[in-house]
Symmetry: C2
Subunit: 334 residues, 2 copies
């Protein structure tokens, strides 16, 4: 594998050009390109340039409507809803954003739900953006079903992550937490399946509900939730807010985020923002004391520390990327 160095701005440009070549509007492509750049910036390769050919393919096959115009509504003072119109999630989120943030400031708390949507990239970046507004953000997104309820064998919920963005009182985020409900990312099982490698004990069960170390059998069965029934409970919380409250399809009925089959997944997101100033004084001091109690311990680290470290490096030096991937993306644009 030969690698090349690419500044972050070039990552964003390449994604923008590629999505527009596939048929997305400039506005829609811009929202997704920014998200792709942020993923590479923080070292989250699975949601970075690797995903660009999939985005382009999904625009071309109609799994995503690249020309969708999201429709924002605000049925109650604290409730913002966005119909993503089977387009990308990112422009839908961007369209609802001013309403959402304004509602949170005015009401103390607001929720924005998005339906007829698609995967929204790195969830933590949306939570961090809320924190940068000086608000406490709790974000949830669901995904095609891959986790069975404890004792069962048919997947009902997706890896259903939640993310939390905590403002630092100075325009940034003191903490960004971003975690899925499963023991391991689905992408890791897909990778091992492709490479013919075994998976680790405790990661998955097969279609009969039995523990398996075979990656292909795991993909036909169910991933296991982190912390057993408690991990399933977290995924269920996310399902109830991101799917049921949003009016999106249930995870069990969503078409896959990979491949071209099944039409638009029509999944959803639910973002909640709290204005700390509406509830208490001294929030920032408490956050500082909490951060210190964790990060100040030998051996412990704050959630999101790895991403922060990656960010420092890529902002200074750009990313290192497989030149074959760049060639593959470029060739699809011709």
């Amino acid at each position: 594998m030969t690698e090349l160095t690419m500044p972050l701005a070039a990552v964003e440009d390449l994604c923008l050009k590629t999505l527009m070549a596939a048929g997305a509007t400039a506005g829609n492509a811009r929202s997704v390109a920014r998200s792709t750049m942020l993923a590479e910036r923080d070292g989250i390769r699975s949601h970075g340039l690797l995903y660009v050919p999939i985005y382009a393919e999904h625009v071309r096959c109609g799994k995503v409507d690249g020309k969708a115009m999201p429709v924002v509504d605000r049925p109650r003072p604290g409730a913002v809803t966005v119909d993503a119109a089977t387009g990308f999630a990112h422009p839908a989120i961007d369209h609802g954003w001013p309403s959402f943030i304004g509602a949170a400031r005015a009401n103390g708390v607001a929720a924005m739900t998005i339906y007829n949507s698609y995967n929204c990239g790195v969830l933590g970046h949306h939570a961090e953006r809320i924190a940068e507004e000086g608000l406490l953000g709790l974000c949830m997104t669901h995904a095609p079903a891959s986790i069975a309820p404890p004792g069962g064998r048919a997947p009902v919920i997706g890896t259903n992550p939640f993310a939390l963005g905590v403002p630092d009182g100075a325009g940034g985020a003191a903490i960004v937490l971003d975690q899925s409900a499963s023991v391991i990312a689905k992408s890791e099982i897909l990778l091992r399946s492709k490479e013919g490698r075994r998976i680790e004990p405790g990661w998955a069960i097969d279609a009969l509900g039995q523990p398996t170390l075979d990656a292909a059998d795991a993909l036909k069965g169910s991933m296991l939730p982190a912390g057993g029934h408690k991990g399933f409970g977290i995924g269920l919380l996310v399902e109830l807010l991101a799917s049921c409250l949003s009016g999106a399809v249930l995870s069990k009925d969503a078409s896959p985020f990979s491949g071209t089959a099944g039409g638009p997944p029509k999944t959803g997101q639910c973002f909640i923002a709290f204005d700390p100033a509406a509830f208490s004084t001294g929030f920032s001091q408490q956050i500082a004391a909490l951060v210190d109690a964790i990060a100040g311990q030998e051996g412990a680290r704050l959630p999101g520390a790895g991403r922060r470290r990656a960010r420092g490096a890529t902002e200074a030096h750009g990313i290192r990327v497989d030149s074959a991937l760049i060639e593959r993306i470029n060739s699809s644009n011709r």
Copy 2:
């Protein structure tokens, strides 16, 4: 041990009488007595009559102000705050309730935070009460620190449970989820310590951060979160909402919920209610389909099923309770 049968109404009466004898006002005692009855009804003994002598002791020693008058404020249309004034959590919650529920209906979402508070009994009952209002409820409460961050050894967060109440569209709850961040309840480790029994692997670490099977060492060390760093992440989410947003003390600075030392714990709660009708149509049908996809699977069961089963039995036949406990409670009232 000799047991006696007690109807649920008698459980409530006994708690009411005991708390008033200890010095609580009738109004404050009534809120706590109802919570105690609900715990016994659902088979959650740790928060039932067993706790009544502790409540009474805490009123007597000043850890709880039995005569506290909670102060409700509504600084923004969707933000309700309650100063529990170092009294019981339950009357504070009851005082804020009409404002909170009204705010959720009017705004689509509302949050109620409680500070200068105390433990709030079975968290799931508050979430269920929100569901009975036809709203989706997410409740969080924190507790004196007992869980260290992964890699560290000093506890920073408590067992910090969250609970979810999902309305069934007919005045009841379709799902009630109630789970703590730890692998095992602290009460189980306390019990084993008292009985001189070993704990199970994976439950706790000692004060040096090493795995331990010794219950007494575990109590001096840290409980382990369910699902490793992901369980800690959930507890951190609860800490940020129930402590930091509420303006309560941090878990690491709270006095213990047991014993008479340390004065009022001044912990907090955060309850969030969403009006599904503000966000989407078809919420109830989606909930019904989700419930069916879980409970309809052989071997799987819906969260909260055990409590529901216990409820059916105690409502019909009352509870069976250790007569020595009843004698102990009665004697403290003389």
